[in-house]
């Protein structure tokens, strides 16, 4: 039996999404899925840049003459904007085959797990560190926080690509 980490109780939700007007519209079109996927991918580049520019700064590998909080403030609107774009386009892509493909796709399940962890982590632990003055950010803490961030978001990206291969 295929691995599965989604509770069975969630299945009606996926069935509903697939039967929804939005899901049906994308499923029945030959180009809508691809077009939305392209926007999803463009937003991926933006979110990747917004995450990395800050994490590279935390790792001591870029823009050391600017403060962490300054870079974080600059990146924040791009991070939030691209994240919202990712979630909206991702929802539509998912709805098109929610129950028949995504609910049973192990790569998708892992992606959702990574995504949940990445969002919670970014807007709690990482965010509280980024608000601090540079003098109050211990170098080792900065590196660990950045590495965990890169790992979690990479997990989302790799599993996202994995959906198509699973």
């Amino acid at each position: 039996m295929d691995p599965n980490i989604f509770p069975r109780a969630w299945k009606p939700f996926f069935v509903w999404a697939e039967a929804s007007g939005l899901g049906t519209m994308v499923r029945d079109s030959i180009w809508q899925f691809a077009a939305i996927e392209a926007v999803h991918l463009l937003a991926l580049a933006v979110i990747g840049g917004a995450v990395l520019i800050v994490d590279l700064r935390l790792l001591g590998l870029a823009l050391q003459r600017q403060s962490v909080s300054q870079i974080a403030r600059e990146a924040a609107p791009w991070l939030l904007g691209s994240l919202i774009t990712m979630l909206v386009t991702g929802w539509v892509l998912m709805a098109s085959l929610a129950a028949s493909k995504y609910y049973v796709n192990f790569a998708f399940q892992l992606k959702m797990l990574f995504l949940f962890l990445a969002i919670v982590y970014t807007y709690t632990i990482r965010r509280s560190l980024l608000k601090r003055d540079d003098s109050r950010i211990p170098p080792l803490t900065a590196k660990v926080v950045a590495l965990v961030s890169i790992l979690l978001w990479s997990g989302v990206g790799i599993m996202g690509r994995g959906i198509g291969f699973y």
């Binding site: 691809a34 392209a38 991918l41 979110i47 990747g48 520019i53 870029a62 823009l63 600059e74």
Partner: protein, 169 residues
């Protein structure tokens, strides 16, 4: 002379066949390609935004050039490396794909745009507008053209997977 015989030979090499027949190679290379997109384009985006005076406006342009742009170089190496491997997987199909051709043209144009900027008066005299939040017209044009071309490249790259059109070869 056509490039097609060469591509057919390339597709028949054990290297190409090896990638094609392996279960893991293609997904691994694809994942590297997508993740390096984040590194290369994600960072290049912030450079372009600075040129457009739409982001990082208080960071000197020379700081971005020296302390951030090396990462786009790293990303570019992984991106082209994995991209070439993906191409070798099925060279004839890629060659016959309209989106692949548009992507290649857009890549060349993006390269020319970057080259033109760096060797133009504006790019060579960054020191004159290094810390100004408002950037020269030439810089804004270069940034806008870059963003447009890279968007075309990404979208075409994704569309290669779809066979809406009859292959050209």
């Amino acid at each position: 002379m056509s490039i097609l015989p060469f591509l057919q030979w390339l597709q028949a090499t054990p290297f190409s066949t090896g990638i094609r027949e392996s279960t893991w190679w293609y997904p691994v290379i694809e994942s590297v390609h997508v993740l390096s997109l984040c590194l290369f384009l994600g960072i290049a985006l912030f450079w372009d935004l600075r040129l457009l005076a739409m982001g990082l406006r208080r960071v000197p342009v020379s700081d971005l050039a020296s302390r951030l742009m090396p990462w786009t170089f790293v990303g570019f190496i992984f991106m082209t490396g994995s991209g070439v491997l993906l191409f070798i997987d099925e060279p004839v199909r890629f060659y016959g794909n309209i989106f692949f051709r548009v992507k290649v043209v857009a890549l060349v144009l993006a390269g020319l745009n970057a080259w033109f900027f760096h060797y133009s008066g504006v790019g060579r005299r960054i020191i004159d507008w290094d810390i100004s939040a408002v950037t020269p017209r030439g810089a804004r044009i270069a940034g806008a053209v870059s963003l447009f071309l890279w968007a075309v490249i990404v979208v075409c790259g994704r569309f290669i997977a779809y066979n809406w059109f009859k292959p050209l070869v």
